[in-house]
Symmetry: C2
Subunit: 409 residues, 2 copies
Amino acid sequence: MAEVKFLDGGMSAVQGFKSTGIHCGIKRAKKDLAIIYSQEEAVAAGVFTQNKVAAAPVILTKEHLEATGGKCKAIIVNSGNANACTGTKGLEDARMTASLAAQELGVDEKEILVSSTGVIGVYLPMDKISQGIKNIWQDLQDTNNSQAAAEGIMTTDTFPKEVLVETVIDGKTVKIGGIAKGSGMIHPNMATMLSFIVTDINIGLEMIKEALKEVVDVTFNMISVDGDTSTNDMVLVMANGLAGNKMINEKNKDYHAFKEALFALCFKLAELIIRDGEGATKFVTVKVKNAQTLEDARLAARSITTSNLVKTALFGEDANWGRVIAAVGYSGAAFDPNQVNMYIESARGSQQMMEKGMGLPFDEEKAKAILKEKDITLIVDLVSGSQEATAWTCDFSYDYVKINAEYRS
Amino acid sequence: MAEVKFLDGGMSAVQGFKSTGIHCGIKRAKKDLAIIYSQEEAVAAGVFTQNKVAAAPVILTKEHLEATGGKCKAIIVNSGNANACTGTKGLEDARMTASLAAQELGVDEKEILVSSTGVIGVYLPMDKISQGIKNIWQDLQDTNNSQAAAEGIMTTDTFPKEVLVETVIDGKTVKIGGIAKGSGMIHPNMATMLSFIVTDINIGLEMIKEALKEVVDVTFNMISVDGDTSTNDMVLVMANGLAGNKMINEKNKDYHAFKEALFALCFKLAELIIRDGEGATKFVTVKVKNAQTLEDARLAARSITTSNLVKTALFGEDANWGRVIAAVGYSGAAFDPNQVNMYIESARGSQQMMEKGMGLPFDEEKAKAILKEKDITLIVDLVSGSQEATAWTCDFSYDYVKINAEYRS
């Protein structure tokens, strides 16, 4: 398969798409409105929060994608206000946002997708949104600024997150650019992992839906900062076909090449989210190997990445394998506790901590050195099959509590 | 039904049982071995950790209860060492502990139940256990000290936990005494919620099994300090029949009276565990009302009590109802997000925060005053049925992270 290259430029480098971000007045001073615009008709697909309490923009965007059969001209995203738990009026406000943007852009209102992140339970300031849409559309005539868009969707992120990858499919250069905001929640009622991705690949709706779902399942859905699922989570992708490759309508080698590139992009965005996790001091990779089923591997890996005890031990740089195996034990994954092997790894080396379910005597100094690194890998070998899964998390520090408890004081 | 009275005295006040605790040398200086002895033949039942990685004493105690058909003469508990992840040798050590105690006490080894809590992955120091059993049995000849037993099972608990209740059943005074240790985990690899209960009620095996399971499900199983399930959790009950009430062999009114008294005892022990939770500054009751099914109510309540975001908000005394409803949303419980009502309560008053899924404008000062109290109740009304569940937790403070990250530094 063709190499996947990381380049600079974010979404701005993908032909046929323009994006930017501005301050419209929801936040005090920072950018709080972003637009991603497709000059061509684009196919679009999304994955959304599983939280039963879905925010108004999640409901409306799903409705629009359904109504158009996966077509989209633009995505309008505001930060500073989640438009969640806002009832009928919230849904009307989301609809009004799409409608105002549709008028301004001269497109069908159903071809506008909307997304929000920020405080729960407060109505959108529609006057500011309305003026903001006019301003951002005017700005977009002279600019194409993916980084400004990435800034416009930030809440408590400490840096904007954008990634661009390039690969060759069917002899054509294909680009995929994306932005994301973090899953950390710093301000009260703040939440949400958002990502928006654009690509010039020529691909059918069913195939891009499928690729997005498969890739999100092994990237964004395998990261955890604090185990709380937001009401506004959303990942959207748009593809405009300008790369000129033969339309992908089946799971052929081109599909797989695209999926690989999409994975590279999503994984990088997910990594940036974890590195910017609230209070995070470490980037932790958890690999569960040789599980009976994929589901067992995923359950075990996610159970470790959401264990407060594992995460505080990592913050304390403590080789606390007992907490890791206990988290696997209550994960619901099928395995034989008397077969499990466990290892820790970093740039400073590797050490086996457990063999056949029993702790091994280990070199405390070496373990400490391994765990001193910023990037750490925990490997759990269940020795029960051949399936594996990888999940990512950060450690759990004082600052997580500080950020989430002290915001008003 | 007869009143359930709380009295002083713990297990020591229950006729026919004797207990004590000593230092045998597993820990540096504190008590680390406890015995609970029944002079009569007692029926015994237990509930155990659901963690697939069950410690050796859990495996052995289940095996013994099975072999004897629910008979027990004594429970031997050590703290400081969990005898978990210790393989075949760990199981042999547990068996040896029971065997040594059986010789000393002159009973069948299968009538000895064993329990451990402490560091995972280290073999029990059998020389110290062996001498300890001799010493504790000698001590028990002249003493009956429930509080010493409660101290002997502590790990990082800051105070011993013992409760005694008394009620009248079939015209007879019945006592139930119990001890417990906390679910907080302070030292590396420390874990475990343990509770041991003795009663003089006359009751059949099936009925005491059933009562224990039903009561544990709504007490110990509804508390959470940090969401991590230990490898050693165990609740055991022994009943010797000395109260002289008519043997309870069906779910008649005597059974229900007993269950009520057992509930009062277990609830109190569970409350003490939460109040002694790692870094806890508040005792939080979460009531979920009007759910479609009991399972929905339990899922929603437990999801709230395990949400880091809810718990850090409570530490910050922030009326952050958005985090509460988000936790219900991802709990898996069936409900209509547009119907939910939510309230906060404490000794300082009560305030509705949410109506029909939407935030209400609320008095920030009053909310702050309510949340300043040490005991707080969150009430979530799902308005979807008639089932309810209550769960308990503590808040999540800096000290939780400190306790769990810094132990070695």
